[in-house]
């Protein structure tokens, strides 16, 4: 509220730690260093956090520049609050492995479901999340 009182502006969020959820489902955590009028974001010391169940893993990514249109939500992270109370941090390899397993399991169930539907002569078209048009 510093620069443009009465409106929402990202200027006051600069140099604070943020969590951003992108449209492709990735979660990035980093220090918001710079913005522009399109809400393109420059993140510093970015970490991609992968969540699988109760576990999560951080992959350091460095500097990220996120195009504004790909942001789903963005929020400041409270440094004072204790984090990871419920979640358990694991190593990168482990979390990637977990993620892979999760994807695999999902694909399996999806496959089975499709098969069952097909047997019954039904089909549900898969919604593509990324394409909007």
């Amino acid at each position: 509220m510093n620069y443009v009182p009465g409106t929402a502006s990202l200027i006051d969020d600069i140099d604070k730690k943020h969590l951003v959820l992108l449209r492709d489902g990735r979660t990035l955590i980093g220090f918001l260093r710079s913005i522009d009028q399109f809400a393109n974001l420059v993140f510093h010391q970015t970490v991609e956090r992968i969540h699988v169940g109760k576990k999560f893993g951080d992959i350091p990514r460095g500097i990220f520049i996120v195009r504004g249109e790909n942001v789903v939500l963005l929020g400041e992270m409270d440094m004072d609050k204790p984090c990871d109370a419920v979640l358990q941090q694991v190593s990168i390899e482990e979390i990637l492995e977990e993620q892979r397993l999760q994807q695999q399991a999902k694909q399996e169930t999806e496959k089975v479901k499709m098969q069952v539907l097909k047997d019954r002569g039904l089909s549900i078209p898969k919604a593509d999340n990324l394409d909007e048009y």
């Binding site: 509220m1 620069y3 443009v4 009182p5 009465g6 522009d36 009028q37």
Partner: protein, 799 residues
């Protein structure tokens, strides 16, 4: 970058050697500005030596120097690893070598920059006891290989390739050196190694960067690229502030004491010309970047651009640091092993907490800059020039951003209540916390104040609206309701009246096009377009004379009046005509009402028809006037059956009387014939006296009959009347038609007229009653009868 000096320019070198001497004063002044008055040139070295107890020790650091540079990175060419003689011996070492042919061109300036090189070498070696120790250990084992004077190569970024092989040697020697010199300075060695390790490992405060990046120092170690004392462009950047605090680590102070010949000549000319022929022109500022100096709202007014103190020969020196030097690299510069002083291992990053706070607080307006040299600098006396200086005087700084204080007062578009809430919020917010955290962050304020203002300005521009109710309906409504509520609550007890909300409104300018006009030109431009249609026609209002206008108006008014009357009568007539239908369908009770209405309507008709201007005198003027209009004639014809007998007779009389006139008027319309039927009905109901009168009327004055006869209606009427009379006579023996001679006379005259009138002029009647001949037979002799017969037959034949 370096500029190669050809051997031909040897002589010029000497000239240039003197040139920097003049700048020494300026340089010194800059130095003072940078590092503060407390910066004393030679102190640090003595201090350092004193502290480390290395006085008198031979400092040779070929190997160590090589190792240092190897760690520093590939961009920097290694010094002649084995060729760094002790500083004290450096000058004498140089001289014998100098005259010997120095094949690499760079060596020329090496000779000239000998002072710099040796001071650098001293700096390096002095800084690091380990290196010094190693160097001392190694120097005997390594006579100077390669071209002499290669000690100076360290100062060159581009070294002759022959020196490269030296790179490989040092690493192998170092362990040996380490072991050999381990006895000498165990503590300092360990410290050095520890420092190295910490550097390698210590990415913590600098964030997650790969360790090699620490060593990547593309800025170069260039004493060459920086002229001593040159303060980089004082911008409001944290990095510059770091520089101010830390100082340019590459600037060895002995430089000033020594031959202040700096190697700026070696600097490549600024990149004004594109290095690649044919490549597109270098765009220093890529399209889309925020303006470097965006116009802030009040900035220009209140804070004119500060004059930056620069070296007078600035054009020769490229900026030592680019504007956006990352804290990483800067800290690297600060942390490189050359700078590594005799710090105890506890000190990790060079910039201490307080220093960072200091430099970052200087970013924020309003923060006191009274922080002196950080007291917690251990052994810092020697490094005072780098760290200890009080913050540079304000004039080096960019004017503090004006909006950082209460930016809320610069906006006008807020509702006063809203503003109040925001200020309260701002005050109550614990501002200190965030700032404190941010002050510890070395990467903060990467986005400059100007850029923030620029983005804010764009966002504010988007808030402009011509119609706030359209654009921000809910905001307006909410505050209106709030206002009302408050007024109700206060009940005007409070004197304060909430002022009306002022939103930034774009002025609704009237965009009327005014064609371009030149002063003094004759007339207007003839260019015409869609937006600028040229006047093609000058429409002139022609005003007729008043009399004519009046007459015309009168005529029109009269006509309008007649038509109006006719319309009124029509409406009544229609009602009358529909009466019967309604009467049949109406219930018993309503019939009376209907009858009443019917009567009223009929009366209206009568009155309208016999509208008299003067009471008493019945005039058929109205009839005639109505008849003058075609609609009127039609009206009369429809009207007649509904009129009471007397009125109908009167109407017919009127018609008969004015037949010639009517006939004349009817020439265009020819609608008089409609009247025949109803008139015939009326005639048949007429009494004999009335009939006679009618006949008389038709006859009118002398000569009129002829005109009557020319008119269809007239003729028809005549015949009708005659036939009726005859019928009357023949049917009713008590007919009074013959009582007076009028009838007979009239018939005679008619017969005469008929005979007289030529056949051609005779208008064919609509129908010829059959008994006319019989009538005439009684009055006319046979001859005439035959003629009459002919005439009568004309009509039937011709019609």
């Amino acid at each position: 970058m370096f500029r190669f000096q050809t051997p031909d320019e040897d002589c010029t070198l000497e000239e240039e050697e003197e040139a920097p001497v003049e700048e020494e004063d300026d340089i010194d002044q800059f130095n003072d500005d940078t590092f503060g008055a407390g910066a004393i040139d030679d102190d640090w070295q003595e201090e350092h030596k004193r502290l480390t107890g290395m006085e008198g020790r031979a400092v040779g650091g070929g190997v160590a120097g090589g190792r240092a540079t190897e760690m520093i990175g590939g961009a920097v060419d290694p010094p002649p690893a084995s060729n760094l003689p002790p500083p004290s011996s450096l000058p004498p070492l140089h001289l014998p070598h100098a005259p010997s042919g120095l094949p690499p061109p760079g060596l020329e300036d090496g000779r000239g920059g000998g002072g710099l090189a040796e001071s650098l070498a001293r700096f390096i070696l002095g800084a690091d006891p380990a290196i010094a120790g190693l160097g001392a250990a190694q120097s005997p084992s390594h006579p100077m290989p390669g071209p002499p004077g290669s000690a100076l190569d360290f100062s060159r970024l581009l070294s002759p390739p022959s020196l490269r092989p030296h790179l490989h040697h040092p690493p192998h020697q170092l362990p040996g050196g380490n072991s050999s010199s381990s006895g000498m300075h165990p503590s300092s060695m360990m410290s050095y190694q520890q420092q190295q390790q910490m550097l390698c490992r210590g990415s913590g405060p600098m964030g997650q960067m790969a360790s090699p990046s620490i060593w990547e120092n593309s800025m170069g170690f260039g004493p060459v690229s920086r002229s001593p004392g040159l303060i980089p462009h004082m911008e409001d950047s944290p990095l510059m502030s770091i520089i101010k605090e830390v100082g340019l680590p590459m600037q060895p102070h002995p430089l000033r004491g020594e031959d202040p010949r700096d190697l700026s000549e070696r600097v490549l000319p600024p990149r004004s010309s594109s290095p690649v022929i044919g490549s597109p022109p270098v765009r220093a500022v890529p399209i889309g970047t925020p303006p470097k100096q965006p116009m802030s709202l009040n900035h220009q007014i209140h804070h004119p651009t500060a004059v930056h103190v620069r070296a007078p020969l600035q054009h020769r020196y490229p900026p030592p640091f680019p504007d956006r030097l990352s804290p990483n690299t800067l800290l690297n510069l600060a942390n490189n092993p050359m700078c590594r002083g005799p710090f105890p291992p506890g000190i990790g990053p060079v910039l201490s907490q307080l220093q960072r706070a200091q430099m970052l607080n200087s970013q924020v307006a309003g923060f006191p800059r009274g922080l002196g040299p950080p007291p917690m600098l251990p052994g810092g006396g020697g490094f005072r020039p780098f760290f200890g200086g009080p913050p540079p005087p304000p004039h080096h700084r960019m004017p503090p951003p004006p909006l950082h204080g209460p930016p809320i007062y610069h906006t006008t578009h807020l509702h006063p209540q809203h503003r109040r809430m925001l200020t309260q919020r701002m005050q109550s917010r614990p501002m200190g916390v965030g700032l404190d955290r941010r002050s510890r962050d070395p990467y903060s304020n990467l986005m400059t104040q100007r850029e923030k203002e620029w983005v804010a300005k764009i966002q504010m521009m988007q808030l402009q609206s011509t119609d706030p109710y359209l654009d921000d309906y809910y905001y307006q409504n909410y505050y209106e309701k709030l206002e009302k509520r408050q007024e109700r609550e206060r009940d005007s007890s409070k004197k304060e009246h909430t002022t009306r909300l002022i939103t930034p409104q774009v002025a609704k300018v009237e965009h009327t096009y005014r064609p371009v006009q030149f002063a003094g030109s004759l007339g207007k431009l003839t260019v015409s377009s869609v937006n600028n249609p040229r006047k093609m026609i000058d429409a002139v209002v022609t005003s007729r004379s008043d009399d004519e206008e009046k007459r015309e108006k009168q005529v029109w008014n009269k006509r309008r009046q007649i038509l109006y009357t006719v319309e009124k009568m029509y409406s009544s007539l229609l009602e009358v005509q529909d009466f019967e239908k309604r009467f049949v369908h109406a219930a018993e009770e309503e019939r009376g009402a209907l009858l009443e209405r019917h009567k009223t309507h009929t009366e209206t008709l009568c009155t309208l028809l016999t509208h008299t201007e003067q009471a008493g005198r019945v005039s058929d003027e109205q009839c005639v006037t109505i008849m003058s209009v075609r609609k009127g004639k039609r009206l009369i014809s429809r009207l007649l059956p509904f009129l009471p007998a007397q009125q109908a007779a009167a109407v017919v009389m009127a018609i008969a009387r004015n037949l010639p006139a009517l006939a004349k008027k009817d020439k265009q319309d020819q609608v008089l014939c409609w009247l025949v039927e109803p008139v015939a009905v009326v005639i048949q109901s007429l009494s004999s006296a009335a009939l006679t009168d009618l006949l008389q009327e038709i006859q009118g004055r002398e000569g009129n009959l002829a005109s009557v006869l020319q008119n269809k209606l007239g003729v028809t009427l005549l015949y009708l009347v005659l036939s009726e009379g005859d019928r009357m006579q023949s049917s009713d023996p008590n007919c009074q038609l013959m009582d007076d001679n009028r009838w007979t006379e009239l018939v005679f005259s008619v017969a005469r007229e008929l005979l007289a009138a030529p056949s051609s002029t005779l208008a064919p009647p609509l129908f010829t009653p059959p008994n006319l001949l019989g009538l005439f037979a009684r009055y006319v002799d046979r001859q005439s009868l035959e003629q009459l017969q002919e005439k009568l037959q004309i009509s039937t034949l011709t019609s």
